[in-house]
């Protein structure tokens, strides 16, 4: 590998620097260099060097979600975090783990499982909870790194009980665009000293800086799991089944739905976790509650948690909504999809107010764009306003109610669709977000253009 063409300043900052290759492109944008720091100090030096040279920079872990977000408007330097791959400390007695950003999710899960613990996040591509380590679904998208998990804020079915990465992160270390290394939080679960940069960086798509370390709160790995499933013919039946499970005292860890195509029935699945006796008991109670057609199994159904990963080369839209509005949201999806001539897969964490719509890669870009526009218009309409908040929504003061009660974000899409669609949609408090960006990255060199509002 020739080093003649590398700026000396980059290679003196970081031992592993090379010219970018074809396959390093990010959403079709080709970087010039790839740096792979092996330590936080090297990462800081590389960022300082990039600052000195005015280079745009983009972090990359395993690259599993690099195509998410809008294509970057510049990508001079790719920072490969996989050299930061140490599990720094696993304090099992404290249920806390500290890791570098390049640690792989599966690698970490295995390490924690050996101590009977887990990071209670199951993003798409991760194995579903199972006591037998069987993966009936076969091939899955390779899960990524801790840094990528935090930066995309991705979660899976367990979000109902445990939340998303921002709910479990208790400490973070980042390198700012100017090379400053900064930490917030720590390695104890209870900590309100100072601002929580972990929350700010979660879901920030690399636009505020480079995440190099994070500490998370862990949970005991459940001894037993059970999936109670049933089919539901229409949206109301789905809503009723999900509500029955979540309103019950049985403390489900997840309640998911899935519908491969419009003509097919919905599948509903509820996950129960705990000790063997407890799970058996709750499983029996839940099956009774859900009635005819409910069946139980210790392993996940094949469709479990696939919504966000169903069309890796296609378009995936994530809808956030108030859980009560499940039926109108499904109606909005169906209406917009039919109108656009599409028949996408629909599924997700219905009880947690998150759903995914997956459109195949061969759908015409024009149709996908129409679908997204129509969907957003319906989600802005009266049918998804929570009934209890109706008074607020029609109140005289426009500021009384949040500007929207639901959102639809295009997580990823083929290039032609990206060009035809506003991926992010309306964003509340965009002005404040721009102000935050301007403070953290005044030269707009970190993952420019990838984020909401063109940030």
């Amino acid at each position: 590998m020739t080093t003649d063409s590398l700026p000396g300043v980059l290679s003196s900052a970081c031992a592993e620097v090379r010219e970018a290759r074809q396959d390093d492109a990010v959403a079709g944008v080709a970087p010039r260099f790839v740096a792979r720091p092996a330590s936080v100090a090297e990462a800081a030096a590389v960022m300082r060097a990039a600052a000195d040279q005015g280079l745009t920079a983009l972090p990359r872990g395993a690259g599993t979600r690099l195509a998410w977000g809008s294509p970057p408007s510049g990508c001079d330097l790719l920072i490969d975090t996989r050299g930061l791959n140490q599990v720094l400390e696993h304090a099992a007695g404290d249920l806390v783990v500290r890791v570098q950003a390049g640690v792989g999710l599966e690698q970490l899960a295995a390490r924690l499982a050996a101590a009977g613990q887990r990071l209670a996040l199951d993003p798409p591509g991760a194995r579903p909870p199972s006591p037998h380590d069987a993966d009936p679904a076969g091939d899955r998208q390779t899960p990524g790194t801790i840094g990528g998990l935090l930066a995309t804020g991705m979660a899976g079915p367990l979000r109902l009980r445990y939340g998303t990465p921002r709910d479990l992160v208790i400490g973070i270390t980042v390198v700012r665009a100017d090379g400053t290394v900064a930490s917030s939080g720590g390695k104890v679960v209870k900590n309100v000293a100072g601002y929580d940069l972990g929350k700010l960086f979660a879901g920030s798509y690399g636009t505020l800086g480079l995440i190099v370390e994070a500490a998370f709160r862990l949970h005991p790995l459940p001894a037993a799991t059970a999936f109670v499933t049933l089919d539901a013919t229409d949206a109301d039946a789905v809503r009723a089944a999900v509500a029955a499970a979540v309103d019950s005292p049985l403390a489900p860890s997840a309640a998911e739905i899935d519908r491969p195509a419009r003509g097919e029935p919905f599948r509903v699945g509820v996950l129960l976790e705990g000790d063997a006796d407890g799970v058996a008991e709750r499983c029996a109670r839940l099956t009774g509650l859900l009635g005819n057609g409910a069946a139980a199994s210790p392993t996940a159904p094949a469709w479990w948690g696939r919504g966000a990963a169903a069309e890796p080369a296609g378009t995936v839209v994530r809808i956030g909504f108030w859980a009560e509005a499940l039926a109108p949201v499904l109606a909005a999806v169906d209406g917009a999809a039919s109108h656009a001539g599409l028949d996408p897969l629909v599924g997700g964490s219905a009880a947690a107010g998150v759903m995914y719509v997956a459109v195949s890669a061969d759908a015409p870009a024009v149709a996908v764009a129409r679908f997204v526009d129509d969907l957003r218009a319906a989600l802005a309409g009266p049918s998804v306003v929570p009934a209890a908040a109706a008074e607020l929504a029609t109140s005289r003061s426009p500021a009384d109610a949040p500007p929207s009660w639901a959102s639809a974000v295009v997580l990823h899409a083929p290039a032609e669709v990206c060009a035809a669609v506003d991926l992010w949609g309306p964003v509340p408090s965009l002005g404040l977000m721009r102000a935050v960006k301007a403070q953290f990255d005044p030269e707009h060199r970190m993952a420019p253009g990838r984020f909401a509002g063109g940030i």
Binding site: G179, V188, K190, A193, A223, G278
Partner: protein
């Protein structure tokens, strides 16, 4: 003994008095207080050792009024401080003599409850417990439960990211809030998030919660509600020593059980509680453990049996179980009264809020005992054993010369101890003005500088609860970068850099 503070800049009262007509237009005459006797009633929050009468007090009743008040302050370049119920323990609501205190206690509406979505929209002055009471008919409750929940406000909870005894299992405020309407420091009303928890963009809700009133004033909160557990059991276990109690805690957590709460009190704290509320905890206990288990009935029954067995194995000589709500309340009375109760055994005290990794608890408690013995300053210990959050109550007689200073020294040594074990200077009370001087022990200059970037984004003029959290304010608009020269304020001799 109290410290009276005045502020640099305009002599107290002149600048802010000029705002009275505008504030009266906004909040009405009943919503503006300027009489010195009235102002004095707001001179401190729950941290009574530091007092400062505000220049002016306003009591808005709507979000629009809060925005208008802040806009007036911003135009006049007058600092302002928000106050909920004034129960905070770090002086976060300590007023400014040259500023306006914006009190949200009249904003008490529970605007909407969406039981099917498990959400509620509330105003900031609503008390924490009122949310749970309003949710109860739907089989729901609001999980973060600070000990002051009868009085403390949800707006204050948002500012401090309050926890409570049940946060080990159920999380803190940040886990239970999915949207905020705020007034920005320049007087604009805006929403952060939309209640779903999945709104696009930066997680400004997460960044705002716990920012101690320095990034704006919250005027509506979208909270998550949690299903009331099917069963709750509360156990009280008495041990001869703290070590045995601590071992029991470790064994419980190590067995994979996640209790709703695990609290611990030492002999001195028990003595105080007994004197105050006659809680009749087991005689002669060196440590008392309160363990609460919640969840589905069968699980709770099994976990209760397991916890009993563990406590017995670790040497508990008496175990009580609550059979009904009254017995449960009786067990908790002693623990909940602990802070106020120490007044029975000591004229004055400092309450700390350090955190250590749970596995270091035993060692840290031994060390605190050593510090106490060496200095002659008594320390009663009450703590959230499950998450290592200590509340050492450092006792002193304020009539004795030098006693308070000695207590401050021990108090500081305890915080140093927490930091040295990888913990935190505050688990739930916040930094406020009380612990800002410790921030440089826990964080480096790059850390504090970076955190303050957030402050500069929200409050470039530095008017929103200034002087709290950070010992050295960051100049907004300065070119960020690794500083090679001394900070301008340090160079001009105006501040020290520790």
């Amino acid at each position: 003994m109290t410290a009276r503070l005045t502020d640099a800049g305009a002599p107290a009262g002149t600048g802010v008095e000029a705002l009275i007509p505008a504030m009266t237009d906004i909040c009405g005459p009943a919503g503006v207080l300027s009489d010195p006797l009235q102002l004095a009633t707001y001179e401190c929050d729950g941290l009574t050792s530091h007092r400062c009468s505000p220049g002016l007090v306003v009591l808005p009743t709507t979000a629009e009024q809060v925005a208008a008040v802040v806009a007036v302050c911003a135009r006049a370049k007058i600092p302002f401080v928000a106050r909920g119920s004034g129960t905070g323990l770090s002086g976060g609501a300590l007023p400014r003599a040259d500023g306006v205190l914006i009190v949200t206690s009249k904003m008490r509406r529970i605007i909407a409850i969406d039981a099917a979505s498990r959400r509620a929209i509330v105003e900031p002055g609503v008390t924490n417990l009122a949310v749970s009471k309003a949710a109860e008919p739907y089989g729901l409750f609001y999980a973060p439960d600070p000990s002051s929940q009868v009085v403390c406000s949800v707006g204050g909870n948002v500012a401090e990211n309050s926890g409570g005894a049940h946060c080990l299992k159920h999380g803190f405020t940040v886990h239970h809030v999915t949207g905020l309407q705020i007034v920005t420091p320049d007087g604009e009303l805006t929403w952060l998030g939309d209640g779903t928890g999945a709104a696009p963009g930066y997680d400004l809700v997460g960044a705002f919660i716990g920012s101690e009133g320095t990034l704006g004033i919250v005027t509506k909160i979208i909270v998550k509600l949690t299903r009331i557990p099917e069963a709750v059991t509360t156990l009280l276990a008495a041990f001869a020593t703290m070590g045995a109690g601590g071992a029991a805690v470790s064994a419980i957590i190590g067995s994979g059980i996640l209790p709703g709460a695990i609290e611990m009190m030492d002999a001195l704290a028990i003595e105080a509680a007994e004197a105050a509320v006659a809680c009749r905890y087991p005689e002669g206990a060196g440590a008392v453990l309160i363990v609460e288990l919640d969840g589905p009935a069968g699980d709770v029954a099994r976990e209760t049996a397991a916890v009993r067995a563990i406590c017995e194995r670790e040497g508990a000589y008496e175990i009580r179980a609550a059979n009904d709500a009254a017995e449960r309340a009786a067990i908790w009375t002693g623990r909940k009264s602990a802070f106020a109760a120490v007044g029975r055994i000591s004229p004055a005290y400092i309450v700390q809020d350090g955190v250590v990794p749970r596995t270091a608890l035993g060692e840290v408690l031994d060390r605190i005992a050593e510090l106490s013995a060496a200095s002659g300053v008594r320390v009663a210990n009450v703590f959230h054993a499950g998450d290592g959050n200590l509340h050492p109550l450092v006792l002193f007689d304020d009539a004795k010369p030098g006693a308070e200073a000695a207590a401050e020294v021990v108090s500081g040594q305890i915080l140093d101890l927490c930091i040295s074990r990888g913990g935190s200077i505050t688990g739930e009370h916040g930094v406020g003005m009380d612990k800002s001087r410790y921030m440089t022990k826990m964080f480096g200059p790059g850390d504090l500088d970076t955190m303050q970037l957030l402050r500069c984004a929200f409050d470039p003029a530095g008017l929103c609860n200034p002087g709290k959290i950070f010992p050295t304010p960051r100049l907004c608009g300065e070119v960020p970068g690794v500083r090679r020269d001394p900070h301008p304020l340090v160079a001009s001799g105006q501040v020290d850099q520790f």
